[in-house]
Symmetry: C2
Subunit: 194 residues, 2 copies
DNA sequence: ACCTGAACACCGTTCAAGT
DNA sequence: ACCTGAACACCGTTCAAGT
């Protein structure tokens, strides 16, 4: 009869995140994760496939756990809140965060975040055919910025970087506000959010 | 009497880049680099310190080898040329390129590229106190975009990504053209470049 | 079904030794 | 001065075996 499992996929990912936060991605070995769980390295393979899939799982977990703003908020507040949340995630997991830029954005977690941005852009009145383009530009900048800051690439201090992000945000949001509006019903009501 | 050295720092970095391009960063081991050079792994340490410094050296090499545009060109052309060059570098070395976002931009190679952007921004008439800010925003986006594209993060095809970059470029350049101009001599002459 | 022991082919890095 | 042999403490992954 099958005894209860000692570990599962979720506990493995949690342990891996803890190991990476403590010792960096370089110290993130199957053996170290296993030791934290009180198990041998070979036990992990049943639950996460192999090390590459474990890394993919970490990236996905960061995306799934990113707090999304209340959809009832005005679109400007939603976009700035998501940017701030990304930045916080990067600070919390500086070693794992850069991987977000290196994996295809096709997972449920990636789609979850992307759709939230799409909705904010639609509410902003962006032309539908421009929505994916604007999302790529926004997400690329925010991910790159958060990764750069967390990795210490910038020489500027936190206050200046706060201003950088605010500056970029104003710039984007103002451009959005003046972008061509797609005609259609329900548009006027959404605009009330501003 | 000292016999001529078989390898030096430069040949080690060149071999490392070749190994990374062929087998990915995961396959970039001291032993693999040494084998390519016909030498043992231990011989590398005298020339590159250790593996981390070898990786730093690769990043620096990419920056030092980035072709910079003729300073006589108009600033718009210079900025777009640098963006295109970064994108090409990312395509040529997709495995090493992401490291550019993870190392402090304090090396001579990083300064070299940054100063070229600074000069273009000054020639565009950007207020001096805004120049570092705009450079951080520009470099972060371009690095993040090139890394994302090279790693296959985007689902969009190359044609759409070309348009993304053109779209972002127009947006930035138009914003720059309308930015407050710092007063001073020599300004009018530079503006003639446009 | 889940975990382990043993094994294989690897790693980065040091240090003394060779030339 | 430059490279190597030997050694150490690690890796990821497999497979058959245990429960």
């Amino acid at each position: 009869m099958p005894r209860p499992a000692q570990i599962d996929r979720d506990s493995v990912l949690a342990a891996a995140l803890a190991v990476a936060d403590a010792g960096g991605v370089a110290g993130l070995s199957m053996r170290a994760v296993a030791e934290r769980l009180g198990v041998t390295a070979m036990a992990l393979y049943r639950h996460v496939g192999d090390k590459q899939q474990l890394l993919d799982g970490l990236v996905e977990r960061l995306l799934l756990e990113l707090p999304l703003p209340d959809p009832a908020l005005p679109w400007r507040q939603r976009l700035t809140a998501m940017g701030a949340a990304m930045r916080q995630t990067a600070q919390a997991h500086p070693q794992v965060f850069p991987l977000l830029l290196q994996r295809p954005a096709v997972t449920p977690g990636a789609r979850r975040v992307r759709e939230a941005v799409y909705q904010a852009l639609r509410d902003a009145g962006a032309a539908e055919e421009l929505v994916p383009r604007i999302e790529r530009v926004l997400s690329t900048f925010v991910l790159g910025f958060a990764a750069s800051e967390a990795a210490g690439r910038f020489t500027a201090g936190k206050q200046e970087l706060d201003l950088d992000l605010a500056w970029f945000g104003e710039w984007v949001l103002n451009s959005l506000a003046s972008v061509d509006r797609a005609p259609g019903p329900g548009q006027a009501a959404e605009d009330m959010n501003e």
